[in-house]
Symmetry: C2
């Protein structure tokens, strides 16, 4: 049976009561960068346009400079891309996430995971 | 104006598709240990008894040994306490959490936080 035990680290950057960056926003930024628009990025994430727009709005209100830039495209649809500043923020967030994942996979992890069952017992 | 920028690390231990330990379950275990019952622990957390019971059920199905033990009390209400094994799991989880918080507060943090506004701009 495959071993299903794992540790996941979720990193959230707060600015006031707002989450300025977290796993969902980071994935949305990747999707916007890959697709070239907020609506296509939202679709790729299985997220409503409204929700994606609100996340982008939060990003742009929390960070010192715009993270996502929109621009008029050739069609009716506006295009969007990450600013250089946005790439810097995203890269820095991913680097911190990676270093924490690495840290979590050392030391305590083996001790803690060894106390888990391979799979949960079935629910009642 | 107070600086509202911060980084929070959430640590989730998975067993299959179930979260065997995370911030909410760890806090519930503290509350059960402090109050001596699942229902009082749930109340202290502002959580329904049903929800607390389900979290305890998940805990006990995921870990190698029971984490929470229930026992008949003097009244109609059953008592509950953490097993020695449960204390070991909780302590180990908290230690890993602390070491990751410490790690997150070094190095990258200053770089990343310096890019945030002190407070988000107001929403539209």
């Amino acid at each position: 049976m495959a071993d299903t035990r794992s540790i996941r680290v979720k990193l959230q950057i707060y600015c006031g009561d707002e989450i300025a960056m977290g796993p969902g926003k980071a994935d949305l930024l990747d999707a916007i960068a890959a697709t070239g628009s907020i609506s296509a990025g939202a679709r790729a994430m299985g997220m409503s346009y409204r929700r994606a727009w609100m996340l982008v709005d939060t990003l742009n209100r929390c960070w010192d400079q715009p993270v996502v830039e929109t621009f008029a495209g050739g069609s009716k649809q506006k295009g969007a891309r990450l600013s250089l500043f946005g790439h810097e923020v995203l890269d820095s967030y991913r680097s911190l996430q990676d270093s924490l994942d690495w840290k979590a996979s050392r030391g305590f992890e083996q001790e803690l995971l060894s106390l888990l069952r391979d799979m949960p017992l079935p629910g009642k």
